[in-house]
């Protein structure tokens, strides 16, 4: 899931050179909206096992907030990164208030959707099948993004814009439209990620901040703007976290940031720096 959020962050940065803290809010919004959408769908007689489709659909539908937010961010495209951070952080705070206004301050959760697909015993421990569904979904998105960026006309334009935006503008690419689409895609990655994770957890307004901190660790490890970096970085962060908690819980956060520091010292641009997004 971290991968989806980090991928959204990467995509937007790679093309638009915007550091978007609000990607965490899209994740949280996706989670809240997912709960509402599934509750509504089940109330209208949807068979329980199909709820995943509803989650994905609600995540995608929520991406409509992409274009207006992108419109707002245009004000800081050519400014210093600190302005971008300020504006997007302001968005994080505003979205948090919106979520509290709409869904209330208490944690919001889905019924027992988590265990609809049952549990599986793997090597002595029990794993809910839904976790595997989410992992598979993450893999599919990774493949899909790869295909989209390397094999389609839209992908070629996006990569060209990331490489050199003046040149692609000179060649007749409508930068405004590319930006809006890329940003919306980034939003969708966040909202779908949030929607998919909700059966296993509960939506709380602070989840935006939590995920954005980890997403930034992923991005630093993987390299800003690199899609492969996002994938490998999120794997590294996830495995490190689990390993630390199982062996020495005190160092959970430390372990991640030791690696972050190591990467910054040895390969300041990240493991996959310079690769195409």
């Amino acid at each position: 899931m971290l991968f989806l959020v980090a991928a959204g962050l990467q995509l937007v940065f790679g093309v638009q050179r915007i550091l978007n803290l609000a990607c965490g809010s899209f994740y949280a919004l996706g989670a809240y909206a997912g709960v509402s959408a599934v509750a509504w769908a089940l109330g209208h007689g949807l068979p329980a096992p199909l709820f995943v489709l509803v989650l994905v659909a609600s995540g995608l539908a929520l991406a409509v907030i992409g274009p207006p937010v992108e419109r707002l961010l245009r004000a800081v495209y050519d400014r210093d990164e600190s302005f971008q951070l300020l504006l997007t952080f302001a968005l994080v705070l505003m979205f948090e208030d919106v979520m509290r206004f709409v869904w209330g301050p208490a944690p919001v959760q889905l019924g027992n959707a988590y265990l609809v697909y049952g549990r599986l015993a793997v090597a002595g421990s029990t794993v809910p099948v839904y976790n595997l569904v989410v992992i598979a979904a993450g893999g599919l998105v990774a493949l899909g993004m790869g295909g989209l960026l390397t094999r389609t006309r839209f992908g070629r334009i996006v990569r060209a814009t990331a490489e050199n935006r003046e040149m692609s503008a000179a060649l007749g690419v409508d930068l405004g439209r590319v930006y809006a689409r890329v940003f919306t895609l980034g939003v969708a990655l966040g909202t779908v990620g949030g929607a998919l994770v909700i059966p296993a957890t509960a939506a709380v307004s602070e989840m935006a901040i939590e995920v954005v901190v980890e997403a930034f660790a992923v991005v630093v490890i993987g390299g800003l703007g690199s899609m492969r970096g996002a994938f490998v970085g999120s794997l590294i962060v996830g495995v490190l976290k689990a390993g630390a908690i199982a062996t020495w819980p005190e160092v959970e956060m430390l372990a991640i940031y030791v690696v972050v520091i190591g990467v910054l010292v040895l390969r300041p641009a990240g493991l996959f720096a310079g690769a195409a997004p």
């Binding site: 301050p105 208490a106 944690p107 029990t126 509960a202 908690i245």
Partner: protein
């Protein structure tokens, strides 16, 4: 009665302009002017649900007091501000004191904020009635013999009661224990108190896992996996926010709750989110100082619970009662001091003196402030059950203990007190 931010800004802008004027006219108006009470209620992040709940209790108490003629004929007027970081909250406290000239401040939940507010209340000479914001460490240093601060019950009361119930009901039924607690003073202190009490009761145990997720974490799959490997007979947790249902849901999905006993000291604060789907029966669950479904509840609690459910479609939790008590305790103290002053509105020092040892009827029964400014109340815990009309767990039977039993007496260290028990 709710003041929106906008109205509030307009009001405080006006207040600024007329501040000089008011300085002159204030004494003449004092008998009729409203009593101003500042409220510090958390509105964002992990604390938001609890802050909201405390505010509801304060507002309900205020409506009732005002409907019954106010305090000595003066209406209560609330000035609601936000509790956030210690630094910002201290600024808002100063603003309430200097600019709004409140008579008292009610609120604050976070321990860190509480430690910062203590000295400021003394400096501003403004009465501060805390909802929670209490811990062992640091209080002696930052608030030695406070005059203006009145604190809530000790943080560890819940752990002490849950540990006593563990010894009473589960002794001999577990050997290995694991703790998963939020990584800050509340989590650390409660876990240490639990281990000390187990030792006091002569329960031999081995700790197989100690996990410290940070406060506000929303994913515990790795923690649950580690607990699954450690295979404890009993898990102790003082989670109190959204972390409780998330942890239970993920633990249930991994098959952990079926074979492990659970002691959840504080999870009752988010009781409606503890759905039957994933919360097992037979877990020890604590509700702090208010249990919404108590059969022996007073008419007052029943009326509040009914009002709360009608208005918010939720069953209330303990923080409402902390908030409620601060208002009625202040009223009782003013009236007590006024009786001594021949019916006139008492001076602040007289109100403080009257608050010491003041008793008032809270939603969950009688409460008082001890002479050392610490609250005395009744706590509610019990074993979870699915036999109810809700989709979440409740407790049956409901066990109650008072702070006389589970809170260290004035001037004694927690562990010295525990060691002095005769068990």
């Amino acid at each position: 009665m709710r003041t929106t931010r906008r109205q509030f800004l307009a009001l405080s802008g006006g207040a600024l302009g007329t501040a000089a004027l008011r300085l002159d006219t204030a004494p003449a108006l004092a008998q009729n002017a409203p009593v101003k009470i500042g409220v510090l209620a958390a509105k964002a992040g992990v604390l938001a649900p609890v802050g909201e709940s405390g505010l509801r209790g304060v507002q309900w108490a205020t409506e009732r007091v005002n409907a019954a003629g106010g305090i000595l004929g003066r209406r209560i007027e609330l000035v609601v501000e936000e509790e956030s970081s210690p630094k910002d909250t201290v600024e808002r406290f100063r603003k309430l004191s200097l600019q709004d000239r409140v008579d008292a401040v009610s609120g604050a939940i976070s321990t860190g904020v509480g430690l910062a507010l203590g000295p400021v209340a003394e400096e501003m000479k403004t009465i501060w009635l805390s909802w929670d914001a209490t811990t062992q460490k640091g209080v002696e240093e930052t608030m030695p013999k406070p005059k203006y601060s009145f604190r809530s019950t000790d943080n560890e009361c819940e752990a002490v009661m849950a540990s006593m119930l563990t010894a009473r009901h589960l002794k001999g039924k577990f050997r290995t224990v694991a703790g998963i607690n939020p990584d800050y003073s509340y989590g650390r202190d409660n876990w240490a108190a639990f281990l000390a009490i187990m030792k006091k009761y002569g329960i031999e145990l081995s700790v197989v896992s100690e996990l410290w997720p940070k406060l506000g974490a929303t994913d515990f799959t790795a923690h649950v996996a580690a607990l699954g490997q450690a295979k404890p007979d009993l898990i102790f947790s003082c989670f109190w926010a959204g972390d409780t249902p998330i942890f239970l849901k993920q633990a249930h999905a991994a098959g952990l709750t079926a074979r492990t006993k659970l002691v959840l000291t504080t999870g009752g604060g988010v009781h409606e989110s503890l759905k039957k789907d994933f919360t097992p029966e037979g877990a020890i669950l604590g509700y702090n100082c208010l249990y919404f479904d108590w059969a022996r509840a007073s008419a007052l609690q029943k009326e509040f619970v009914r009002w709360h459910h009608e208005k918010f479609k939720e069953w209330p939790n303990y923080e409402s009662d902390h908030g409620y008590f601060t208002i009625v305790a202040y009223k009782a103290a003013v009236e007590r001091a006024a009786r001594a002053a021949g019916g006139k509105w008492p001076a602040p020092d007289a109100i403080i003196q009257a608050l010491e040892g003041v008793e008032a009827e809270s939603l969950s029964g009688p409460r008082r402030f001890r002479e050392d400014h610490i609250m005395e109340a009744t706590f509610f815990q019990g074993m979870t059950t699915h036999r109810n009309a809700h989709d979440f767990v409740t407790i049956d039977p409901v066990e109650t203990m008072t702070t006389k039993q589970i809170q260290k007496p004035s001037g004694v260290g927690l562990y010295d007190w525990i060691n002095s028990w005769k068990v």
